[in-house]
């Protein structure tokens, strides 16, 4: 479910802080520095980084390709490899049997079994292709807001962390209290009353 999908989910943020000038160059540098790394064929289990809208497997952050009108539009991509436990178990048992036969012993030590399991998982991870999850976002630099096109907690937490590392800016999630405090044009007196509010009984 992304920007151009027929159905969307949107989480709203306010962008806090001042981007280092020149802003577009700073952003391009951050995007390139934290572009998603491919992990297929490697023994890495997961990877996270920025990618381009419409080209999630061939990111391109040159020549302001991510600039559409007044908006910065790009995506967070999270790749993960998962191996079903039953497959791990099958391969570990086979490797343990091979080791016993090779060493002509009846038992393996706890450390040996652990080493075998780690080696099997590493080998399987290299062979398994990563499953990508792609989440679009739109950032209005001038008005300091950002929409992230998912409500999933893990993806939102990943976005907040990567955004801060990439651009040295903080994302403040907009929910009832923060909207009231930051975005609803309340007077200072009205804002002071917010912490005193208690639930209404109907």
């Amino acid at each position: 479910m992304g920007i151009l999908s027929s159905t969307a989910a949107i989480t709203r943020y306010r962008v806090d802080g001042e981007i280092e000038a020149p802003a577009l160059e700073t952003i391009e540098t951050g995007l390139r520095r934290y572009t998603i790394s491919e992990i297929d064929g490697e023994d890495t289990e997961k990877s996270m980084g920025w990618t381009s809208l419409g080209r999630p497997f061939a990111p391109d952050f040159t020549d302001s390709a991510h600039l559409i009108g007044a908006y910065l539009v790009f995506c967070l991509r999270m790749d993960r490899k998962s191996i079903p436990a039953a497959i791990v178990k099958k391969h570990v048992m086979a490797a343990e049997a091979a080791k016993l036969a090779e060493s002509e012993r009846e038992h393996l030590s706890k450390n040996e079994r652990q080493d075998i399991k780690e080696a099997v998982i590493a080998r399987l991870i290299r062979r398994v292709p990563a499953s990508p999850s792609i989440y679009d976002m739109i950032w209005n630099l001038e008005e300091k807001w950002l929409w992230f096109f998912t409500n999933q907690k893990a993806a939102n937490e990943a976005l907040e962390t990567l955004f801060s590392k990439s651009f040295d800016l903080q994302l403040v999630r907009l929910f009832p209290y923060t909207i009231a405090e930051l975005a609803a044009d309340l007077t200072p007196e009205q804002i002071d009353r917010l912490p005193e509010l208690t639930p209404t009984r109907l």
């Binding site: 907009l174 209290y177 109907l202």
Partner: protein, 182 residues
């Protein structure tokens, strides 16, 4: 500023009260909606509503769904101290229609359907994609802007004396009258 996770959890009731107030406003005070969002030609409750009662030790939750779902059970739950936790909404401006679900605790939008746009051809030119994105952003802004305007109006009421003096009695009366009307 409060720690964000503390603020989220401690004041999520504001979002639930907002949705409950919005239900009342749609049903009994359409003039307020016209005043706050003049360009809206219609705002209606959609085909899904979740109502939660946190006033007891065990949280109770009712989900009402379906195009012909009656909301009487929801009104009964309000009388027992429940509030709206999630609400489907349908908004119209002229011929254009938006549908989405609004979650009280976060005010996140989900299942958001905008008026139809031209489908993007596979392998279409970059300029075509840019145009489609700008059109979608414009349409998303309409829905987000409507929610934002209504919540901003609600929160100004909520921090004013008018809330306890005028709005809460109106809400209580609405819940009571709705029950009598069954």
């Amino acid at each position: 500023m409060l720690d964000l996770s503390v603020a989220f959890n401690r004041y999520k009731f504001l979002g639930h009260e907002f949705l409950t107030w919005l239900w009342y406003t749609i049903e009994a005070d359409a003039g307020t909606i016209n005043q706050v969002v003049p360009e809206l030609s219609a705002l209606a409750i959609g085909n899904r509503m979740v109502i939660e009662n946190r006033s007891t030790d065990n949280m109770e939750s009712i989900t009402i769904r379906g195009d012909d779902a009656g909301l009487e059970e929801g009104l009964l739950a309000l009388k027992k101290g429940a509030l709206v936790a999630e609400m489907g909404l349908e908004m119209k401006t002229g011929e254009n229609e938006w549908r989405f679900t609004l979650k009280g605790e976060s005010l996140d939008l989900s299942n958001l359907k905008t008026p139809e746009t031209e489908p993007l051809a596979a392998g279409g030119a970059e300029a075509e994609q840019d145009g489609a994105v700008l059109e979608k952003v414009y349409l998303y802004e309409k829905a987000i802007g409507m929610v934002h305007a209504l919540y901003s109006h609600f929160i100004r009421l909520r921090v004013s004396k008018e809330w306890e003096m005028n709005i809460v009695p109106l809400l209580k009366n609405w819940v009571a009258q709705s029950r009598k009307g069954q």
